[in-house]
């Protein structure tokens, strides 16, 4: 009836290493399969495109720079619109949380109306319908206004939820320390609410990058507008639209990486010693 021998111990410590090794190999296999799936789908698409059209390199060298020139415009429209949306959402959320029936009424009407009608209709309305009332705005500001107001309505609800997600104990602690309503909101609730909604703002910005293509309908020369303009006359829309799609896709991936970096940095204050 001997106990555990030293030989047993040796095999057992080896067992741990062997399990670790097997797990590592399993993870590697999974990752390889995952990448392979992507490659197969991409190759299939490329094959389909090349089988359908003749690759016109002369046209591409002309059209790609033309489409790429829309990138700064797309980014500008997106940034301007998201900024406007954040301001509106802030006001909207304050209104929705207000005990004042007038403020609350205005804010909820705004949210209901802009969420209840299509974004494309709102863009066209500002651009095509308002001139009938004698209000004429340029295409670029029109696009920014429409996108900003529409996203602001959605973000109002996000901001409201973010503010409400700050535990009531925080407000109580602030009040108990003699802070008034305004100081409490500005110093205690808002910074925490902002942290809560940061990922949502990032997601909305990435969605905005793509929804900004809707302003191509009113002639803002962003990516999609340019892709259509250069592709249509020569019936080469497949090439130009694919280029535009690639540009949007790459932009989305880049901003997603940026977003997760930003979030990680913001979370630092929560958990670790500030460096």
């Amino acid at each position: 009836m001997a106990g555990v021998t030293t030989a047993d111990h040796a095999t057992k410590s080896q067992l741990g290493a062997r399990i670790q090794d097997a797990e590592r190999r399993r993870r590697l296999r999974w990752r390889l399969a995952f990448v392979a799936v992507w490659m197969v789908i991409l190759a299939g698409l490329v094959a389909f495109v090349l089988g359908t059209i003749k690759l016109d390199t002369v046209f591409l060298t002309k059209s790609v720079p033309f489409i790429l020139a829309g990138v700064p415009i797309t980014i500008f429209v997106s940034f301007a619109s998201i900024t406007l949306a954040i301001v509106l959402a802030m006001l909207g959320a304050l209104g929705r949380l207000s005990r004042n029936p007038i403020a609350n009424g205005i804010a909820s009407f705004y949210v209901s109306f802009f969420r209840g009608t299509p974004l494309l209709l709102q863009i066209l309305f500002l651009y095509l319908a308002l001139p009938q009332a004698g209000i004429v705005i340029d295409a670029l500001p029109t696009g920014i206004l429409a996108l900003g107001f529409n996203y602001g309505a959605y973000m109002t609800e996000i901001f409201r939820a973010g503010i409400q997600a700050v535990p009531p104990g925080q407000t109580e602690a602030a009040h108990s320390l003699g802070m008034g309503g305004r100081t409490t909101f500005r110093r205690i609730v808002l910074p925490q609410a902002f942290r809560i909604v940061t990922p949502a703002i990032g997601n909305d910005f990435i969605a905005m990058l793509k929804d900004s293509s809707l302003v191509s309908t009113i002639g803002v020369q962003e990516i999609l507008y340019r892709a259509q303009v250069i592709g249509r006359p020569t019936f080469q829309s497949m090439q130009t639209l694919i280029v535009a799609a690639m540009v949007y896709w790459i932009m989305t991936i880049l901003f997603s990486i940026l977003q997760s970096r930003l979030e990680r940095r913001m979370a630092v204050g929560d958990r670790a010693r500030p460096s």
């Binding site: 535990p167 104990g169 602030a174 108990s176 320390l177 003699g178 802070m179 925490q192 204050g269």
Partner: protein, 340 residues
């Protein structure tokens, strides 16, 4: 018999509510809560609770969960708005006004009331987005308008007092529960309030961390800070409190020094509550259903610990009547009120 008159209720000092030995004779009360009532919907949570606290006293409120003890404490600095009654802390008086929205000036008065009575919460409620020192200087800087340097110095002093100087730049999420609560106490102290309110400060803590928080609280009590503590820590109540209020179903049913309320409870409800903690129930018949008031020792001529039945001849006469379930004032049979 005091009834709840519309408007400001008269504040009646129970004969039991005379200050403990720390308080100089003739001292004015610093907290006066008069006939506090609280309804949550049609749930009548507080039924005419009055309390008088003198400077440097430590008061402990005991009671079962759901008895209204936390609600009463929260009414004291209007985190919970009373449905009726009035609170006066250090000369700032606020009446209950459940029916209307308060005007700006009145809300400002509530804010000033809170400046004199800072709460320490069960769940700490530290500000997670601020470092420890950030938590401590937030209110001094943004409420009192202190400079950051002066506030930091103040904050560091109180941080040292709770023994956490080395956590100055840490964030709350990195601290243990006991450390968090000590930071919360230091944060309350930086506002230098007249009264510290503690709402079950150790109930959310791991049992092994309770001691460090109680130690800080005991130190504060012994250095003469005015404190009102809602707690289940019988040991703290016995050793640090000058007076104990026992609350049952929204009424204070027994008030007095801890050695009397805790060790010789007279009220049936107090006895059955305390028997859980003390192991043996005191089997002596008190004043039936009427609230019991213990006279402080120096008021009682003949004091016999040996015979609990005959212990406080005055107290029997000085019971508080709650005939209609509302606030009543005490009949002081001898008329030897210590603070006329």
């Amino acid at each position: 018999m005091t009834t709840i008159a519309p408007g400001r209720p008269a504040h009646v000092i129970d004969p039991a509510e005379v200050p403990g030995s720390l308080v100089p004779t003739g001292a004015k009360p610093i907290v006066r809560a008069s006939s506090i009532e609280k309804f949550f919907g049609d749930n009548h949570v507080l039924r005419g609770c009055s309390m008088t606290v003198y400077p440097r006293e430590t008061i402990t409120i005991l009671g079962r969960s759901g008895s209204g003890k936390s609600t009463f404490l929260r009414c004291l600095n209007y985190l919970e708005a009373p449905s009726a009654g009035a609170v006066d802390i250090d000369g700032v008086e606020v009446d209950a006004a459940p029916m209307r929205r308060r005007a700006r000036a009145e809300r400002e008065r509530i804010r000033r009331l809170r400046l004199s009575a800072t709460m320490v919460f069960q769940e700490f409620n530290l500000f997670p987005h601020l470092s420890v020192i950030g938590n401590l200087i937030e209110a001094p800087v943004h409420v009192k308008g202190m400079s950051k340097a002066a506030a930091s110095e103040l904050g560091e002093r109180y941080l040292a007092k709770v023994g956490l100087s080395d956590k100055r730049d840490e964030y709350p999420n990195r601290l243990s529960g006991g450390q968090r609560q000590r930071v919360a106490i230091a944060r309350a102290l930086t506002m230098e309030p007249k009264v510290l309110l503690f709402d079950e400060p150790t109930s959310a803590l791991d049992p092994s961390l309770v001691g460090e928080v109680l130690k800080v609280m005991e130190e504060l009590a012994h250095e003469g800070r005015t404190m009102i503590v809602v707690t289940h820590e019988m040991q703290f109540a016995r050793e640090a409190a000058d007076r104990v209020y026992y609350i049952d179903q929204g009424q204070f049913v027994e008030i007095g020094p801890p050695e009397q309320v805790i060790e010789h409870p007279r009220d049936e409800r107090t006895r059955s509550f305390l028997s859980r903690f003390l192991g043996s129930a005191h089997v002596h018949q008190g004043a039936g259903g009427a609230p019991v008031v213990h006279m402080p020792e120096r008021m009682v001529e003949s004091h016999h610990h040996e015979d609990p039945g005959e212990e406080h001849p005055h107290a029997e006469d000085a019971h508080v009547t709650h005939a209609d379930g509302h606030h009543g004032h005490a009949h002081d049979a001898e008329g030897d009120h210590p603070h006329p």
